[in-house]
């Protein structure tokens, strides 16, 4: 019984990991850019949800959409102002640029909210339900299911729609895509918007069961890296699968080995994957 509890908990959290990691893998696969600020995008989603509830008394649907919208605009803006130029430069500059962005976002939020922890007021999604003998927190359940749905949605968007195939075309072969009349620049901005939106939604979902603090992005981005590498960079289905597995492994190690070792196991696995199968589960090197 407890084992089932552990498994379900891990999978639900893993689904959320999958959601924000799918955005990261899209950008990485498409532009070979690693967004170190991705965790802070998720954090922004959390705070936008909080502001929406406090200032507008928004319900879950509204604040999630608001987070998605705001973050998608931010993503596109970041692309046009920063990433587009930096992409053409040395690897060092690319890495530094998003690192700097992470610091800037994190501490600007800190400036406004300082360090007091806040949680989303009013548990519109509070409580837990009993399913098959185990207890599942309703926020976690909703977040998990929604996250899974959205990740699948993203995958379908990329593979079944014209827009999606245009985005994928640019990531596969930029020159050929240009020859076909696709504007890489615009597609990349769109990808950034999409990726950031998924981060924003993940943040809004997480805010329903986790506390808000400006520095949460730091740990989230590391998890995203692990998921993306494990799943294979560029592969959204890979991120989905990897997210679930990582969530599961984390929960299982926490319970069976010891809570302090859950991150150790994840990172050790990560390093092993990098050496044994760097392209991850579903990636193509």
């Amino acid at each position: 019984m407890i084992a089932l509890q552990v498994v379900v908990g891990g999978l639900l959290l893993g689904a959320v990991y999958a959601l924000f990691s799918s955005g990261l893998t899209l950008i990485w696969g498409m532009m070979n850019v690693v967004n170190f600020a991705h965790g802070d995008f998720v954090m922004l989603g959390m705070y936008i949800a909080y502001l929406a509830v406090v200032a507008l008394h928004a319900g879950p649907l509204v604040f999630t959409l608001l987070a998605a919208l705001t973050l998608s605009i931010l993503g596109a803006v970041v692309y046009y102002l920063l990433i587009r130029q930096v992409m053409r430069g040395p690897m060092l500059a690319q890495i530094l640029s998003t690192f700097g962005l992470a610091l800037l976002i994190r501490y600007t939020v800190f400036w406004f909210f300082s360090a007091t922890f806040v949680t989303l007021p009013g548990s519109a999604l509070g409580g837990s339900i009993k399913l098959g003998g185990i207890l599942i927190g309703i926020p976690q359940l909703v977040a998990g299911i929604l996250a899974m749905g959205l990740t699948i949605g993203m995958h379908l968007l990329l593979t079944r729609t014209t827009l999606g195939s245009q985005i994928l075309a640019v990531s596969e072969d930029r020159q050929a895509a240009m020859l076909m009349g696709i504007r890489p620049d615009r597609m990349q901005a769109l990808a950034w918007g999409l990726a950031s939106a998924s981060a924003g939604v993940a943040g809004a979902l997480i805010a329903t069961f986790y506390y808000l603090t400006p520095t949460v992005g730091e740990s989230l981005v590391l998890i995203a890296f692990v998921v993306v590498c494990f799943g294979g960079f560029g592969s959204v289905p890979g991120a989905m699968l990897a997210g679930l597995i990582i969530g599961l492994i984390q929960a299982a190690s926490a319970y069976y080995i010891g809570p302090v070792y859950k991150d150790v196991v994840v990172f050790a696995l990560f390093v092993a994957i990098l050496w044994v199968r760097p392209q991850g589960l579903l990636g193509t090197v």
């Binding site: 407890i2 509890q5 552990v6 908990g9 959290l13 800190f110 300082s114 360090a115 007091t116 922890f117 806040v118 949680t119 837990s128 207890l135 927190g137 976690q140 997480i206 069961f209 986790y210 506390y211 603090t213 520095t215 949460v216 740990s219 984390q250 929960a251 926490a254 319970y255 010891g258 809570p259 302090v260 859950k262 991150d263």
Partner: protein, 415 residues
């Protein structure tokens, strides 16, 4: 001839007053180093507010606070009414920055004494700098044993530490076992940084020696996203009492996880810190009814000195004073009392006055048995109460001499 005489007298008088002023400074500078940014910034900012209130109390006369040293006087009487000026510095949780800021406060700002620094990892190296420069340092909050175990002479600690807390819990649980409530097994759930590891270990050792059985110890990573594994481990071992040594974020998450998994130990003891943070009561107070805590701070009845201090702090910050900031405030008062008693800002004079401190309980705002330092600078009379969350306030329930209420058993939580 007469003019010369008058001029001469005036000059002599001016000279005397100049000398007098040169001897007693108009302002006494104290440096306070705390984490004002980073993960512990909430605690650092709360301490900053508390010390600012204390400085204000010292600088202005408050007749209703007459029982506290320096409460009723404007400025410090033995230093010609000199006012205290506190200079705050942020160590960002970084030991190297802590040392640099200590150095700056001593050599550039010329503070006469220092206080800090919350994180033992910063307090340990920073106090080493103060010791080397012969500047007195008051530790109002850090708990590591190393701080006073190095044979230093300039470092004084007014706050109770892990061993004091362990004794309090032992006393409380032993008294409880004598009554009808049977408490035999306990669990320790501690975050695995310096604070949780050392305090958790000390509580565990003292309770085991006192005859209680350790059901399980669950160390965990602070700031985790999910604590269900930890709570499930507790559920499996089912201890009578679970003692949590956690910072705010984890205290919040644990409480929520209890509700989500519909399990809680029969008694939940939160070792101050996270559980005393104002945002704890704000955010999860209604589902944490009956959580036991330890504190040396009791707001007290309206009209009492402690009540008035709390009102001042609340006017400034909007929330009640918490134990950690209160302990810092007490440390600050003790420091200034010593400086005043020394009647001088010379380092050795201050050090001697600190070493000779002998404050009785009714001269304190915190519930210690007094303040008297041993040869290593530790307060031998430091102690703590045990209290319990009823409604939106913590009510002192132990020891009997200070109790306002009695224990509600078992832990109600959200039920």
């Amino acid at each position: 001839m007469r003019n010369v005489l008058v001029c001469g007298v005036v000059l002599v008088l001016l000279g005397f007053s100049a000398l007098a002023q040169a001897g007693t400074p108009a302002v006494v500078k104290i440096g306070v180093i705390e984490p004002l940014s980073g993960n512990a910034a909430a605690a650092g900012q709360a301490t900053k507010a508390a010390i600012e209130v204390a400085a204000d109390i010292i600088n202005r006369g408050h007749p209703e606070l007459a029982r506290l040293p320096l409460g009723n006087t404007a400025g410090m009487p033995n230093l010609g009414g000199a006012k205290v000026q506190v200079i705050f510095a942020d160590h960002q949780g970084n030991p190297s920055v802590g040392q640099s800021e200590t150095l700056r406060l001593i050599t550039q700002e010329k503070v006469v004494a220092l206080q800090g620094a919350y994180h033992s990892s910063v307090t340990v190296p920073a106090t080493a700098v103060a010791e080397r420069y012969g500047t007195p340092w008051m530790v109002g909050d850090s708990s590591s044993l190393v701080i006073n175990a190095r044979g230093f002479k300039w470092i004084f600690r007014s706050t109770p530490i892990g061993s004091n807390y362990a004794e309090a819990y032992l006393g409380f649980l032993t008294d409880l076992s004598k009554s009808s409530t049977k408490v035999r097994t306990f669990a320790i759930v501690n975050e695995n940084t310096e604070y949780g590891t050392s305090v958790g270990g000390e509580i565990r050792d003292v309770l085991v020696k006192g005859g209680f059985t350790l059901a399980v110890q669950v160390p965990y990573n602070a700031n985790s996203m999910d604590l269900s594994a930890e709570v499930l481990q507790l559920k499996q071992k089912d201890p009578d009492v679970a003692i949590f040594i956690s910072y705010t974020s984890d205290a919040l998450l644990f409480t929520k996880t209890f509700k989500a998994l519909d399990y809680s130990p029969r008694m939940v003891i939160g070792d101050d810190t996270g559980f005393s943070d104002p945002s704890y009561i704000q955010n999860v107070g209604d589902i944490a009814q009956g959580v036991v805590n330890r504190t040396a701070w009791d707001i007290g009845k309206p009209g009492s000195a402690t009540y008035r201090i709390n009102e001042m702090y609340k006017a400034k910050t909007g929330v009640n004073l918490d134990d950690t900031s209160g302990r810092n405030m007490q440390g600050f008062f003790a420091l200034m009392e010593a400086i005043n008693r020394a009647g001088s800002t010379q380092p050795e004079a201050i050090r001697k006055a600190l070493a000779e401190t002998n404050l009785s309980p009714n001269q304190l705002m915190m519930g210690y048995r007094g303040i008297r330092y041993d040869a290593t600078g530790m307060n031998t009379l430091a102690s703590t109460y045990v209290n319990q969350l009823v409604g939106k306030e913590y009510v002192t329930i132990w020891p009997e001499s200070a109790a306002h209420g009695s224990l509600t058993w078992p832990f109600k939580g959200w039920r």
